[in-house]
């Protein structure tokens, strides 16, 4: 089974027919644990997405600049070093400051349950931990990307 089959049964095929979901993966902190990121990058590509990786140690500014220049649908943030509340917030602050409402932000990593509502309140959804099936993640991203793309395509 390849990741590609996941998207095949998804609903919003037509919206992404010519231009697939474009996603930026980023670990915007001092955290080099990139094993999970590479697995996700491949899985997303195999699910038909255009995948960008922000590289090692990007600043929150780098992440948002890249997202804007590449006009991505989704930014996926991940941290395993416990700094998510501080660092994810910095990314969201920049997004809000630049009044960006058509790029969805999802999160993941080692995020304790009690932190999830705080992240959701900032607008960061998903917040999946280790062991989450890829299908769950891909479905969630597809859902959020659909919102984002619809906003992009409106006049």
């Amino acid at each position: 089974m390849s990741g590609g089959e996941y998207l095949a049964d998804g609903k919003n095929q037509s919206l992404f027919k010519d231009k697939p979901i474009k996603i930026l993966l980023a670990k915007p902190g001092i955290d080099g644990h990139d094993r999970g990121m590479f697995v996700l990058a491949r899985a997303f590509r195999d699910a038909g997405m255009d995948v960008l990786y922000a590289g090692l140690l990007p600043t929150p500014e780098d992440v948002v600049d890249t997202a804007v220049n590449e006009d991505v649908d989704v930014i996926a943030l991940s941290l395993l070093n416990g700094a998510h509340l501080t660092v994810f917030k910095k990314v969201m602050d920049l997004i809000n400051k630049r009044k960006i409402d058509d790029i969805a932000v999802v999160g993941g990593g080692t995020i304790p349950d009690q932190d999830k509502p705080k992240l959701e309140k900032m607008g960061i959804t998903g917040n999946y931990g280790p062991g989450t099936p890829l299908k769950v993640i891909i479905d969630h991203i597809t859902e959020r990307a659909t919102e984002a793309r619809s906003r992009k395509n409106r006049n």
């Binding site: 590509r45 699910a47 804007v68 590449e70 006009d71 630049r98």
Partner: protein, 317 residues
């Protein structure tokens, strides 16, 4: 954002408008919006010098492109970049990895760069790349540098919209030979041997020079330059040659052929797309395909049948 907002944004170089406009040229669902936008921006394009960078994988094109744009910025130019990544033939998804390779140069110098993925119908990429170039041109960027993987028809198509094409090679990979075979020697205006710190670099440069001197080159003498994209060696020479080539085009007739090559590129791809849409829309095509699969008819006959079915009314021969 509507077309008016996008147009205003492009003129003011608001990066969100610029990048959203490029997206519109990537997405066929938005084709009417794209056409409308092009009508607005086309009159203010034509100022930028378009540089194509091509060559086999692994020669350090992206890193070189990052360093080159940085150096250009330092010398007062205002470059923007477009890089094309190959997509997976299986899922149509892609990993847009070129960006990582030039990230540092972009970050330090605030250079705009956009990745495009090579996917969809044949020629789709040429249309979105052309759109991206026009948007950046309208925004006042100059030069605009496009990087491609240097293989296949769509790459050659993209190169045809560049004013100056630099072919990047590296020693020790047997690329010189491959390049000659692949026919990219013909499309290059400038040849670059990257990684000149490596063994065999000098020989590679000489090989290329020898090959170039065999073919006819017109009035422009194609230079061969050695660079090192890690140290930045040779970059100034490359920039100088690009400028020389621009001057050469300005004097001759080279540059004014671009609108016509753009037209033919668009025409060819749009016609192909149109034809493909006719063919794939025809339901009975599937029956013919299954006849071929079961070896009941041969492919020659089948293709003739499909053409007759699809275009019979247009008139044959």
């Amino acid at each position: 954002m509507n077309v008016d907002e996008l147009f205003e944004g492009i003129r003011k170089r608001d990066l969100r408008s610029v990048s959203r406009s490029i997206s519109i040229f990537e997405d066929d669902l938005q084709s009417s919006k794209a056409d409308e936008l092009m009508k607005r921006i086309y009159p203010i394009t034509g100022r930028a010098h378009i540089i194509g960078i091509t060559g086999p994988p692994g020669v350090g094109k992206s890193t070189l492109m990052g360093r080159l744009s940085k150096r250009m910025k330092e010398t007062g130019k205002d470059p923007a970049l477009v890089a094309i990544d190959a997509s997976s033939p299986f899922s149509r998804g892609s990993f847009l990895g070129n960006r990582i390779r030039m990230q540092d140069s972009l970050r330090e110098n605030g250079i705009f760069m956009r990745s495009l993925s090579n996917r969809g119908f044949k020629g789709g990429l040429s249309l979105s790349a052309l759109g991206a170039v026009k948007v950046l041109d309208a925004s006042g960027f100059d030069p605009i540098i496009i990087e491609t993987v240097g293989s296949g028809q769509s790459d050659l198509d993209i190169i045809s919209i560049a004013d100056t094409t630099a072919v990047i090679l590296a020693p020790g990979l047997g690329d010189e030979i491959q390049a000659i075979k692949a026919g990219i020697m013909e499309i290059g205006d400038i040849f670059v041997v990257n990684k000149i710190d490596r063994e065999g670099a000098f020989l590679a440069m000489k090989d290329i020079q020898d090959t170039l001197s065999l073919g006819k080159s017109g009035n422009w003498i194609k230079p061969v330059i050695g660079t090192n994209s890690l140290t930045g060696e040779g970059l100034d020479e490359l920039i100088n040659e690009i400028d020389q080539h621009k001057k050469f085009l300005g004097n001759g007739s080279g540059r004014d052929t671009r609108p016509t090559s753009e037209l033919y590129l668009l025409l060819e791809n749009r016609i192909r797309k149109l034809i493909e849409s006719y063919v794939s829309d025809d339901e009975s095509t599937a029956d013919i395909v299954s006849l071929v699969r079961s070896r009941k008819i041969d492919p020659y006959e089948a293709s003739e049948a499909i053409i007759r079915k699809s275009f019979g009314h247009v008139g044959k021969n």
